[in-house]
């Protein structure tokens, strides 16, 4: 019954989306006010019902109901509970339902919370959101029904792949999805504002918390994904410029550009057409990215196989949405009155440069990701790897960081160069200090890491400058948010630079008892012993690292063997061992036993890395997310509402 109920809920929710769309359209074409009154409750109900349907799908996975095809194909009654739950969205149909649920819930949340927009713009926004969800409802119900039953239920399911049982892999996609789909709200706001021609500060302020919110999730998703790849793949890298990583980075870049341009529109009523276009681009990039990965257009370890029919369906949907929004933009944006003027040397000017750089990086990353497709159309098989991205994105990102130094120190509308210069000496001094220290003591350092660390020094000091001379308790939350996020960029950049410049690597075949020197550490390979896990066996190596100060630490990397499932070949994986120190991280991988000439396997391959400051990269990512969160709380005025409510309560209590 659960599956049938879930399907019924989906159909009802789709009908409600249809209702919102039709009622909203009729109202906007001059229909009665009663029609507009329908849209809000319908959006809320649609959100609730879709969430309930998703809840029912989780219930089916929890109960291991193998009569449902999706469960039988992707789950197994022997799986640990947490992976049964995660299995819900670890497949095509379930992840589409998750996508749709977030889309519908955001529509519902706009309907509940948005009070600042004009009524007709809000109705247009909700109608746009309903139109978006309607397409994905059609996709789900007609070509990817997650609740489909099997004629005969198999005794157990086939989803028991040990490689997919990873907690990071289980919760990474939903985080990114919230970010991707959150941008749909900005898209709908943009479409709504274009329809009613209400493009101005009110629209920007309504959109702002949503942009920040989804950008927080994208930041967290990308940061966590980077760390997952780092410890799980055993290659010790933190960013591979894999297509899957790129398609999550592209919406993040669009979101970063959007949240800065929306600040200009909200505060100064300028850059209006640009903000609208970025809002359209942000969600478009989310859809294109998801589509590229899901359809197998670009091969990657994470891609689900999607058949061409489904791929075409998604492509048509996207063409309608993106093409429709861009056509509307082309027709209406010309009529958008020119925004308020500003000088080049002003806060607005710096944000314009920030936006130009971010969109350029976005375009170059997208170009690198799609170039293999284009090249193949011309008959060459090509892969675009890290050297390309480092070369094009690296320098632009550094310039972007320098603009970030100046931007927050400039005042709106117009500033003068001397004033800016007078606020910079400390930051420039910090940068110079880093540069000299690196040249004097750093040895041979590549030009990009060298500049990266120097810029990080400048940014770290300059990012704190907006707090100077301020009463910290009275500094508004968004300012705190900006300072922390910009400081986070500096931390992240310093981590990347230090890791690339000073990484130490050793690859040895060592026998138990051997000492390996790496950096300031001496590592003793104490030996190996067999261990057994819940569904694997492993060889566990013991490495004892001694620091120059004499402290000792033990690391236990494993080489695991999962038995072949249902007659398939056994799978071997390497579990890296990590040791976090204040100055960086130690990373150890145990490889295969090495057979000597006399046939004895007495040595083992061991790969060691010392990665200075590497954890600063993720710390920086987390700081950026924290900063954006503070900023969002300030913008959404939740705190103000809460304070007002508390004040009212206190008043009531002391009222006579």
């Amino acid at each position: 019954m659960i599956a049938e109920l879930g399907l019924a809920l989906l159909w009802i929710a789709a009908a409600l989306a249809c209702l919102s769309l039709v009622a909203g359209t009729l109202f906007l074409r001059g229909g009665s006010k009663d029609l507009a009154a329908l849209v809000r409750p319908a959006s809320v109900a649609q959100g609730v019902l879709t969430a309930a349907a998703f809840g029912l799908l989780i219930a089916l996975f929890v109960r291991s109901d193998m009569s449902v095809e999706l469960v039988a194909r992707n789950s197994n009654s022997l799986k640990p509970m947490i992976f049964k739950i995660a299995g819900t969205w670890g497949n095509h149909e379930g992840s589409m339902l998750l996508w749709l649920m977030i889309l519908s819930l955001s529509g519902g949340l706009i309907a509940i919370f948005e009070k600042r927009l004009r009524e007709d713009t809000l109705v247009a926004t909700l109608a746009a959101q309903a139109a978006l969800s309607l397409g994905f409802f059609a996709f789900l119900l007609f070509s990817s029904n997650p609740f489909k039953r099997l004629p005969v239920a198999p005794p157990d399911g086939q989803g028991l792949n040990p490689l997919l049982q990873d907690i990071g892999l289980a919760f990474h996609p939903p985080t990114l999805y919230v970010g991707y789909v959150g941008l749909s709200v900005a898209f709908s706001f943009a479409v709504g504002a274009l329809i009613t021609r209400e493009i101005g500060p009110a629209f920007a302020r309504a959109m702002r918390p949503w942009v920040l919110g989804s950008w927080i999730f994208l930041t967290l998703g990308i940061t966590a994904g980077s760390y997952w790849a780092y410890y799980e793949l055993g290659w010790g890298g933190w960013w591979f410029w894999d297509p899957v990583e790129n398609v999550s980075l592209v919406p993040w870049l669009a979101g970063a550009a959007l949240l800065h341009s929306v600040a200009v529109t909200a505060t100064r009523n300028a850059l209006r057409a640009w903000t609208v276009m970025l809002a359209v681009i942000g969600f478009s990039m989310s859809m294109v990215g998801t589509f590229i990965v899901r359809s197998g257009l670009l091969t990657s370890v994470h891609s689900f196989a999607v058949d061409p029919e489904r791929g075409t369906f998604l492509l048509v949907l996207m063409a309608i949405y993106i093409g429709g929004a861009l056509t509307l933009f082309a027709l209406r944006a010309g009529a958008v009155a020119e925004g308020k003027k500003f000088a080049l040397l002003s806060r607005e000017g710096s944000l314009v440069i920030n936006n130009l750089l971010l969109t350029t990086i976005l375009a170059l990353v997208l170009l690198g990701t799609l170039y293999p497709i284009v090249a193949e159309a011309m008959g060459e098989k090509i892969s675009v790897g890290p050297p390309y991205y480092n070369r094009v994105a690296g320098p632009l990102a550094l310039i972007l960081c320098l603009v970030m130094v100046a931007g927050p120190l400039l005042s709106w509308r117009k500033d003068d160069g001397k004033r800016l210069w007078s606020r910079l000496p400390l930051a420039l001094f910090a940068g110079a200090a880093v540069l000299f220290a690196l040249i004097l003591f750093g040895g041979k350092v590549g030009i990009l890491p060298l500049l990266g660390m120097t810029v990080a020094g400048i940014v770290a000091v300059a990012s704190l400058a907006p707090l100077w001379g301020r009463n910290l308790r009275r500094t508004p939350l968004p300012t705190w948010g900006m300072v922390i996020a910009h400081f986070g960029v500096a931390v992240c950049l310093a981590g990347m630079g230090a890791e690339s410049a000073f990484i130490k690597e050793r690859l040895v075949a060592a026998a138990p008892g051997d000492d390996i020197r790496i950096g300031d550490f001496s590592v003793k390979f104490a030996g190996v012993k067999p261990v057994a896990g819940p569904n694997y066996t492993a060889i566990e190596g013991t490495l004892v690292a001694t620091t120059s100060s004499g402290s000792r630490f033990t690391m236990k990397p494993e080489a695991r063997t999962f038995p072949g499932l249902m007659g398939t070949a056994p799978t071997e994986t390497n579990e890296a061992a990590l040791l976090t120190r204040p100055g960086g991280q130690f990373y150890a991988v145990l490889g295969q036993p090495v057979t000597s000439d006399d046939g004895r396997a007495d040595r083992y391959q061991i790969r060691l890395w010392w990665k200075p400051l590497v954890w600063w990269i993720w710390l920086g990512g987390a700081l950026i997310a924290v900063g954006a969160t503070l900023s969002m709380l300030g913008r959404a005025q939740l705190l103000a509402i809460w304070r007002a409510r508390r004040a009212r309560k206190l008043e009531e209590r002391f009222a006579p």
Partner: protein
């Protein structure tokens, strides 16, 4: 007048920036994009010594030989028509093995050996073409019941 002047500068900066980025991208793409080659293409002389590329093929049965240092392996990558010796120093990826597909990043050495910096393994024993997805009868079969 002043404002208009500023706008013009901004537009020029933007235009220059975009053009610069285009040039940067074009030169980086032509320098850094690595060709995807198969052994037969290498045999046909399509690969220059020292040029970064990606090699795809099968690991020939019985060809994996570990060198005396215990770290370097040599094997033969084949596509059925031609084969190329490959040398790699390091720990091979989780799914690497004889007769499995592999993709290697690296470059050709003058002696005709492909020196890999990184090896990616492909595992396809469980791969099912997407068209199979909706067939309940086969599903049952595939589930091994």
């Amino acid at each position: 007048m002043k404002a208009k002047h500023q706008r013009l500068i901004l537009a020029l900066v933007a235009l220059g920036g975009v053009a610069g980025a285009g040039v940067l991208a074009a030169s980086a793409l032509s320098d850094e994009a690595a060709y995807f080659r198969t052994p037969v293409e290498i045999e046909d002389g399509k690969a220059e010594v020292g040029e970064a590329m990606r090699l795809g093929g099968m690991v020939a049965k019985g060809s994996i030989v570990r060198q005396a240092d215990g770290l370097t392996i040599r094997f033969v990558a084949t596509d059925g028509k031609a084969s190329v010796p490959v040398e790699y120093k390091g720990i091979v990826p989780d799914l690497f093995g004889e007769e499995s597909g592999m993709v290697a990043d690296g470059r050709m050495r003058a002696d005709g050996t492909f020196v890999a910096d990184r090896i990616l393994a492909k595992h396809d024993e469980r791969y099912m073409p997407p068209q199979m997805g909706d067939m309940p009868k086969n599903m049952k079969a595939a589930a091994g019941v």
